[in-house]
Symmetry: C2
Subunit: 146 residues, 2 copies
């Protein structure tokens, strides 16, 4: 089995410059309008399901997810963190790590649910101004693990 | 800090009979119409975020999540497994572990997204007939970890 797939968008070099990568996983910030504090941990090899990893690989990747989560909590004081691994459209293992706020467009629904309101524009702009520092803090936290 | 909250529905004894529980977590099958192969791992203590656990607690609970996932894959051959931890409505750490099928009502959207079609009734009935055996297999897999 090849570790990369020619058809999978997450296997392509064009899939976004990572904040950090290791031989096993990479982390990118996701460009999702209205949800700026949103990172994705992508498994490097073309694996569909979490249970296909070894226990050590699962533990290592979830420590990276938790490290991203801790940075989001410490720097942004979100109302909640949302974690998800679906892959229905792109069956290549990846974890969504999102800071959620009572003022965002979908709260308390997941990003994938129905919108509840327009996001608060001032609050959104405040988070967007934080992104360069947030990226650096996420990178630093991950470097401590990698 | 108390480990249980009087206000939290997931802290109540009425929150559903678990298939298995340990001092740290319990697993229930979720009653969600149209999504029969859906389990939930609930952290016993009233903790909001994954990153509040210790690394060992994270690894142990994710091994339980992976064990449930492996049973769903082996017995049901789903098109994909979906994993998620949101807690926006009930901020008490819990993991959704769902088998997803191309014939289900929302595929490839998450359960929380817009419905795509009525679920295939014959396929749904076939999964529902499997539930007692599935519960036993999930319980057995978790017993191997607990």
């Amino acid at each position: 089995m090849s570790s990369l797939s020619a058809e999978c968008p997450l296997c392509q070099p064009s899939a976004g410059a990572p904040l950090l990568q290791t031989p096993l996983w990479r982390v990118v910030r996701v460009q999702e309008p209205g949800f700026p504090a949103f990172y994705r941990l992508i498994w490097q090899a073309h694996v569909a399901e979490f249970s296909e990893l070894t226990a050590a690989e699962r533990a290592g990747s979830m420590e990276a997810v938790a490290a991203i989560e801790r940075v989001l909590i410490a720097r942004l004081q979100p109302d909640k963190i949302n974690l998800a691994s679906f892959g229905n459209m792109v069956p290549h293992l990846h974890w969504h790590v999102m800071a959620r706020f009572a003022w965002d467009s979908h709260y308390p629904q997941p990003l994938w649910g129905p919108a509840q309101r327009p996001a608060d524009p001032a609050a959104l702009a405040r988070i967007e101004r934080e992104l360069p520092a947030l990226d650096m803090a996420v990178r630093e936290a991950l470097l401590g693990l990698a």
